[in-house]
């Protein structure tokens, strides 16, 4: 009996370890974070009382930690991993930069956990709007309103990182969601001009299908890619009529079950139901889907300007590429496209290396310095720095084509984290035929209500 009891106890302890170890880790972090916000705020307010920075006016070695998300690059040397540490070292021999690069999913959790455990990076890239709100409210990031070069950036983009009138990031640029297309396949299907409204887009898909060409490829196994198509459609469908949709969500004047949202999801679902999207897209990853596009297996892919390096290269088949925004508007109705702040550089508020960080940022964002030149020529973001134009023909042509149209930020910029995830998860069920557009919208509403309760 004793032995049996002992074995049951041992099993219980073993199970404890794997079900609650996650919680255990977080708990430790909570203890740190619980008291931290007020401490951090104090540190910021009483800047004069701060401990003297280690590197002020001396040659003492300082190592700064930088965290960035993984970005595809065609260059042999990456800006963040190679050029930035090298050029800073050349200019300031006592400053070393250690860069940590992670894919977006892991990146978000790692940065948050590092901050919660008091080990946040010295500076890091992060997203604008609501996505940065928790970091700002927790007091983890520094007010950069006084940064001298901030005025050089487009104000509306810089302001997307502002909370309570204070600016917390240096914008790295903008990006847009777009549809990459195979010009040769379009020509083969007899499509002579880009679609201007939803019906023309559907006609275009139908012509491609009739010509034996799969119209669209999608890596829906990684559900986040669903956003690329959904937000392009939603731009015109929701915001042309109601540019205040996001603020109305928070006041309760509207919901995701609004007909404009249901129609957005339904239009996207129609593309799958009509057989315009590659078969078995739920089994393809983003990378495999991009390869399918490059190999000529489909004529279009929903992606973004951030996919430039990955999609501008040649695959198994050589063809000319173009980009356009899906026009979900009805004929004669207003068209809206996506143009959104990509990332900004945030600085740890609780850092004792502020002088060194300031030196690096000033060097990085001052026109004419070698680091600035390297940044502007290698970045995949579209510059929002005064006087710096994007040199990529496709991007220039795209921005020029839509310069007179209304633009909006990526739709999820206005939502708490988790809503877009719910949208993508249920939409996978729509693709499988197990859910409807209404289910997607109800799920988003329910998650939004839960997160803003």
């Amino acid at each position: 009996m004793k032995k049996r009891l002992l074995s049951i106890l041992l099993i219980a302890l073993m199970l404890f370890s794997f079900t609650a170890c996650n919680g255990g880790k977080e708990t430790g972090k909570t203890e740190d974070s619980a008291g931290k916000p007020s401490d951090s705020a104090k540190t910021e307010d009483t800047g004069a009382d701060k401990e003297k920075p280690a590197d002020t006016g001396s040659d003492e070695e300082v190592t700064l930690s930088l965290m960035v998300t993984t970005r595809p690059t065609t260059e042999s040397k990456d800006f963040y991993l190679d050029w930035l540490p090298e050029l800073v070292k050349e200019k300031y021999p006592n400053i070393n930069i250690e860069v940590e690069q992670l894919p977006t999913d892991q990146y978000k959790q790692t940065v948050r956990l590092k901050f919660a455990s008091g080990e946040g990076p010295d500076f890091f890239t992060w997203w604008a709007g609501l996505q940065a709100k928790d970091l700002v409210e927790a007091g983890y990031v520094r007010d950069l309103s006084e940064f001298p070069q901030l005025g050089k950036f487009k104000k509306e983009i810089a302001d997307s990182y502002a909370f309570d009138g204070k600016n917390y990031a240096i914008p790295l640029g903008t990006s847009f969601l777009t549809t990459w297309y195979n010009k040769d396949a379009f020509a083969k299907a007899g499509i002579t001009q880009l679609p201007q409204n939803w019906q023309e887009f559907l006609d275009c898909c139908e012509k491609l299908k009739q010509s034996g060409i799969t119209p669209i490829t999608a890596g829906d196994k990684q559900s986040f890619v669903i956003q690329f198509g959904m937000y392009q459609i939603g731009a015109s469908e929701i915001y042309a009529e109601n540019p205040n949709f996001d603020s109305q969500l928070f006041t309760g004047e509207t919901k995701f079950t609004d007909p404009s949202w249901v129609s957005t999801v339904q239009k996207f679902a129609d593309l799958y139901q009509k057989g315009y999207v590659i078969e078995d897209s739920l089994g393809l990853s983003q990378e495999q889907s991009r390869q399918a596009f490059l190999d000529g297996k489909a004529a279009m892919i929903f992606d973004g300007s951030f996919g430039y390096d990955a999609l501008a290269k040649q695959g198994a088949v050589e063809f000319e590429k173009g980009i356009f925004c899906v026009p979900s508007n009805d004929q004669g109705k207003k068209f809206v496209y996506n143009l959104t702040p990509s990332n900004g550089i945030f600085v740890n508020s609780d850092d004792k290396k502020q002088d060194a960080i300031d030196k690096v940022l000033e060097y990085w964002f001052t026109e004419g310095t070698p680091l600035f030149e390297k940044w502007t020529t290698t970045t995949s973001d579209i510059s929002c720095y005064d006087g710096v134009e994007d040199s990529r023909e496709l991007i220039k042509e795209y921005l020029d084509r839509y310069k007179n149209d209304q633009s909006i930020y990526n739709l999820n910029n206005a939502w708490p984290e988790g809503v877009s995830d719910m949208m993508c998860t249920i939409f996978q069920d729509v693709i499988s035929g197990n859910s409807s557009a209404e289910d997607v919208c109800k799920g988003m509403d329910s998650k939004f209500e839960e997160l803003t309760r």
Binding site: K25, E26, T27, K36, K108, R112, G283, Q288, D429
Partner: protein
């Protein structure tokens, strides 16, 4: 008196390890149950919200769906994994000239890291490019399997990868069990007229009762812990069709920044797994005694 002093001294030696265990293990676990009753986002302050997290878990179906998927996954891993490993062990225990070579071959998957295995299988399963697609195309099939992109098959396709990876280890354990069966018993069975099948069914398998318990418990715990292959192969999808308890906890905490809710689900997971594991263990022990 001297004995008591000796006992105190021995207990004193336990204090550092016990304190370490209590501070860094037991207290965080208990704290995690508390956080299940809050709306902690992983950053900053939180409020006590009572049982609201549990209410949302039930309302949105996450709790039931994750439990159902975890049980299905674990059952598949236990049943198929053991059947596969036992069959392999019985074959590899035969007097074959090449058994050394095959024992090595079948153990190879166990040497790969999880991420490598997931990467290999993502290409085996990939539609339009994968190994299964190429094979079925070569044979002449026009309708192709999309095992991880289909909500009806994604979970079991993922569990199959886990059994592929763990088959080597389970086989080794069964082999050790088979080699521990005394030769005399097998010979007596032969003298009594038992053929190969009867010897296996009536002698070898009952004699493997202890080994079966070990492998069933290992499979069950592996199945209940299922996270890595789900994360790497399906991301819990399509929809939530392959979202297991551990994956749901991870997603809630790290993708949706709902640490409080994730802790609530972790508490449910703990209680569920504890109860099921104890019941299975007691059942297996009773079976062992009967055998």
């Amino acid at each position: 008196m001297a004995d008591r002093r000796k006992r105190y001294i021995l207990l004193a030696f336990l204090v550092p390890a016990l304190s370490f265990y209590l501070i860094f293990w037991i207290s965080p676990v208990l704290m995690s149950f508390f956080y299940g009753l809050t709306n902690w986002s992983g950053l900053g302050d939180y409020d006590f919200i009572g049982l609201k997290n549990f209410k949302y878990l039930i309302k949105e179906g996450t709790m039931f769906n994750s439990l159902k998927n975890t049980v299905t996954y674990a059952l598949f891993v236990v049943l198929w994994g053991n059947l596969q490993a036992l069959s392999l062990a019985l074959i590899l225990n035969m007097k074959l000239r090449t058994k050394g070579f095959f024992r090595t071959v079948f153990y190879i998957p166990a040497l790969f890291s999880t991420i490598v295995v997931a990467f290999i299988w993502s290409y085996v399963y990939a539609p339009h490019y994968g190994m299964i697609y190429e094979i079925t195309s070569t044979i002449g099939f026009t309708k192709h399997l999309n095992l991880i992109g289909n909500s009806a098959t994604a979970l079991l396709a993922t569990a199959f990868v886990e059994t592929w990876k763990t088959s080597g280890t389970m086989t080794i354990i069964y082999l050790a069990g088979l080699q521990n069966i005394p030769e005399e018993i097998l010979e007596s069975a032969k003298i009594d007229g038992c053929g190969a099948w009867r010897t296996t069914w009536n002698v070898k398998i009952p004699m493997l009762a202890n080994t079966i318990t070990v492998n069933v418990m290992l499979g069950l715990i592996g199945g209940f812990k299922s996270f890595d292959y789900v994360f790497a192969l399906t991301g819990g999808g399509p929809g939530k069709s392959s979202s297991t308890l551990m994956y749901s906890i991870y997603k809630m905490a790290f993708a949706e920044s709902q640490f409080g809710k994730a802790e609530a689900l972790a508490a449910v997971a703990f209680l569920f797994i504890l109860v099921v594991s104890v019941i299975v263990l007691l059942f297996m022990k009773r079976k062992e005694m009967e055998a």
